[in-house]
């Protein structure tokens, strides 16, 4: 038998090997040695990508989104009056950026075109090193950019997108939506419409012929038919038709007593203006006053329709006249900086920037899967919509929905809508599987 001698050298070698063996599992799972992720911030700053329509039909809405993002960046970096950070229920953000890194940003122009929006998002990720992409004013754009961010391994915090598909059949793990959707609009509007117009109504839909329009039409039909309304026709209109008179005149003698305009932006302004011109708001059919409904209102767009919005019902994600502490803080902060109140697009984008920053701070990382985990199931308050939850199953925010009406006697050009009901969250909630789709796994990229 060979002698087993232990000398000093062998002792040191053995200790080192044993130590390495014990430490290996811990070292391999620590962040220091983990695989990196797309655009992992290395220096003292972190770059966010604001992808908004700076040209095209929604440029005004995009400009308002950008103002809100700039305000959010100021507040996250500890500048200005802090806005809704003062009322936000989470106190993780300390006013020194995110995870100690100062927030800087780059911007892209979506042009409200899917291909242009993808190109600008790609540029911000690949060339500017954006760790997160956010913004937009169209569901088509949101779905396209969300897919790109999933593939690139960055988080996408959607801007104004109202189609069910964004967090329904086209949802992705890396995508999160604060804005409400058409399903919630239908659920909120249905009971209000029943109270206002009764349960024996015949509705005629004019619908923008693209993903959001179909989604909106389907939701309103579903909820109004549940209340006992009949749908006499649902006519698809081309996007940007301009003059809708040829689609409105068939409504006049159709027997319908409600016109639902599933239009947004320019189309909404034009179709509503022309429906009023054709006397529909003052018409009587079946012994009842004719009614017009615009399921998705935007204050910026309502200004374009002028006095034609008076008395017209619709829904909205948020309105500057709300009196909760969060809304008041945001309106004050935004109004003092820019001289006018923020739009719902500005509100949702401000919230998205704050929610992302807060999630990174709580997760202590910018890694998409870590940030996503911090957002999933996150319950918060103080951002203007009451108690809210980012549902884990579909990354959709659930909160109260506002039903609004065109104001009869506006006190200023901003004061065009009045909130007639705050529909509680539980009334607009639906099972995640209702809208289909699969989140799939997170992609951290790199």
């Amino acid at each position: 038998m060979k002698d087993f001698k232990i000398n000093r050298r062998k002792m040191l070698q053995g200790t080192a090997l044993a130590g390495a063996g014990i430490a290996a599992p811990m070292v391999l799972t620590s962040r220091a040695f983990a695989a990196s992720y797309t655009n992992e911030p290395k220096g003292g700053t972190v770059t966010l990508g604001f992808n908004v329509p700076q040209t095209g039909a929604y440029a005004d809405e995009g400009a308002d989104e950008l103002r809100a993002y700039q305000l959010a960046v100021e507040h996250i970096n500890g500048e200005g009056d802090g806005g809704m950070l003062n009322t936000f229920s989470s106190k993780a953000l300390k006013g020194n950026g995110i995870n100690g890194k100062k927030v800087v940003y780059v911007t892209g122009d979506t042009q409200t075109k899917s291909d242009a929006a993808r190109a600008s998002a790609k540029r911000m990720i690949e060339k500017d090193g954006a760790i997160m992409i956010t913004g937009g004013s169209s569901s088509g754009v949101a779905i396209a950019v969300q897919g790109l961010c999933q593939d690139a391994g960055v988080i996408f915090m959607a801007g104004l997108t109202h189609s069910n598909d964004t967090t329904g059949k086209d949802k992705r793990a890396n995508g999160f939506r604060h804005f409400f959707n058409t399903e919630m609009s239908g659920a909120a509007l249905g009971p209000v419409l029943k109270n206002a117009f009764g349960s024996e109504r015949v509705a005629y839909h004019l619908t923008a012929d693209y993903t959001w329009g179909w989604s909106q039409e389907g939701s309103i039909k579903k909820y109004t038919e549940e209340l006992g309304w009949n749908t006499s026709a649902a006519v698809r209109t081309p996007l940007g038709a301009g003059d809708f008179s040829q689609y409105i005149t068939p409504v006049l003698n159709s027997g319908a007593d409600v016109l639902v305009l599933n239009h947004y932006g320019r189309d909404m302004v034009n179709s509503l203006t022309q429906a009023v011109q054709f006397g529909l708001r003052d018409k009587q059919v079946n012994g009842k006053d004719f009614a017009i409904v615009v399921p998705l209102y935007s204050r910026l767009m309502a200004q374009g329709a002028g006095e034609n919005v008076k008395g017209i019902f619709g829904s909205t994600n948020w309105h500057w006249s709300l009196q909760d502490e969060g809304s008041k803080a945001f309106v004050k902060s935004f109004g003092q900086k820019y001289g006018f109140p923020p739009s719902q697009a500005a509100h949702t984008t401000y919230c998205q920037a704050i929610l992302y920053a807060d999630a990174c701070q709580r997760a202590e990382t910018f890694r998409p899967s870590g940030v996503g985990a911090a957002l999933e199931g996150f319950k918060f308050d103080g951002l203007g919509n009451g108690p809210t939850e980012y549902r884990a199953e579909d990354h959709q925010c659930f909160k109260d929905v506002l039903v609004v009406k065109g104001k009869e006697n506006p006190s200023s050009k901003f004061d065009v809508l009045e909130v007639v009901e705050v529909t509680p969250r539980k009334q607009v909630e639906y099972p995640a599987e209702l809208l289909g789709g699969e989140l799939g796994p997170y992609n951290d990229g790199a």
């Binding site: 040209t55 095209g56 039909a57 929604y58 440029a59 005004d60 026709a233 006519v235 081309p238 940007g240 301009g242 003059d243 008179s245 040829q246 689609y247 005149t249 068939p250 006049l252 003698n253 320019r266 302004v269 034009n270 203006t273 022309q274 011109q277 054709f278 006397g279 910026l300 767009m301 200004q303 374009g304 329709a305 002028g306 006095e307 034609n308 500057w320 006249s321 008041k328 309106v331 004050k332 902060s333 935004f334 109004g335 003092q336 001289g339 109140p341």
Partner: protein, 342 residues
């Protein structure tokens, strides 16, 4: 039957706009030989004449009320339009009639814009290929619409018709229908009559004045008219200005129907070119006939009964008709031999 009458009326007011724009395009093409892709922008600029007039009439005296504050904490602004403060009820009436007033302003403004465009840019492209004319005028159109967007924003700006013209007219009673079955917005009927009047005026001007005779002669044979010692270029400059005025008036009057935004010219431009081609390049009568015809057919194609049989036909009808016309009558409905054939 009432639905058909309503769609004819729709087609007539829409066709009125097409015809007015196409008329200007045809005049410019027939006289100067220029394919003017900036013509839609002239329609848009006319509409923004109405917006500007209303904005000027709405200029407000701002007083701060320290006893009240806005939602963001600044003193509330009490705004009163100067015209109301200075002229009382007359000022209110001026605001109410801002669109008709803008017609008067649009005439000299559009004439100036048209003449400046022709002298400053278009004349350098008379002898250049059509492709270059299209490129430069299209570029000009984009520049003009971006200027308008930077000044007025991207959102549509409402321009209400005067209160007296806001109601509906029971058109059906006049043609034997039951009361209430064929009612139509008064302003749209006014627009149709306005477009007929402008078209009539342009034809009369070209037909019954010496200036018009020279222009028509120039359209037929520019070289010979020049050899007769007539300064045809100067007349053609005025013709370009006149076409700009026609497009501008069409745009200003259209604002209560379609809230103007910076892109409205492009929306009408393509359709108006189709109208010109269907009517026959260089044919004034053809442009008018094709404008109204395509407007009416587009309206009919949007009827549910038609779309049930041919889904989506409303979106392609104009182009479909253009294809059919060009296959059967390559020079268009009323095109002249020799135009665009060399």
């Amino acid at each position: 039957m009432d639905a058909i009458v309503l769609q004819i009326l729709n087609g007539l007011d829409k066709g009125g706009a097409y015809a007015l724009i196409a008329l200007g395009l045809t005049i410019i093409f027939g006289t100067l030989g220029v394919v003017n892709f900036a013509h839609g922008a002239l329609f848009m600029l006319g509409a923004f004449c109405a917006v500007t007039v209303k904005a000027l009439l709405s200029l407000e005296k701002v007083a701060l009320d320290p006893t009240q504050t806005t939602a963001w904490g600044t003193p509330l602004e009490i705004r009163t339009p100067y015209v109301e403060a200075w002229f009382g009820d007359f000022g209110t009436a001026m605001l109410n009639y801002s669109v008709p007033i803008s017609i008067l302003i649009a005439i000299p403004v559009m004439l100036l814009i048209g003449v400046s465009m022709e002298r400053g840019l278009i004349r350098f492209f008379y002898k250049r290929p059509h492709a270059e004319q299209i490129l430069v005028t299209f570029g000009l159109a984009i520049v003009l619409q971006e200027i308008v967007k930077s000044l007025f924003g991207a959102n549509p700006i409402p321009q209400p018709a005067p209160d007296a013209a806001k109601g509906m007219i029971d058109f059906g009673v006049a043609i034997g229908f039951q009361a209430g079955n064929v009612v139509y917005p008064a302003w749209r009927l006014i627009y149709f009559l306005f477009s007929v009047a402008i078209i009539g005026g342009v034809f009369a001007f070209l037909q019954f004045t010496t200036f018009g005779m020279v222009v028509r002669a120039g359209m037929a044979d520019r070289e010979t008219v020049g050899l007769l010692g007539i300064d045809i270029d100067r007349r053609f400059t005025i013709v370009f200005g006149m076409a700009a005025v026609v497009a501008g008036l069409a745009g200003a009057m259209y604002t209560p129907i379609l809230s103007p935004d910076y892109h409205m010219g492009m929306d009408f431009l393509v359709l108006s070119f189709v109208v010109v081609v269907v009517g026959g390049m260089g044919s004034l009568g053809g442009a008018v006939v094709a404008g109204f015809t395509l407007g009416i057919l587009q309206s009919f194609a949007s009827m549910n009964e038609v779309k049930d049989i041919l889904p989506g036909i409303d979106q392609i009808i104009i182009y479909l008709i253009a294809v059919v016309i060009l296959l059967t009558r390559p020079r268009g409905l009323m095109g002249r031999k020799g135009v665009m054939e060399h």
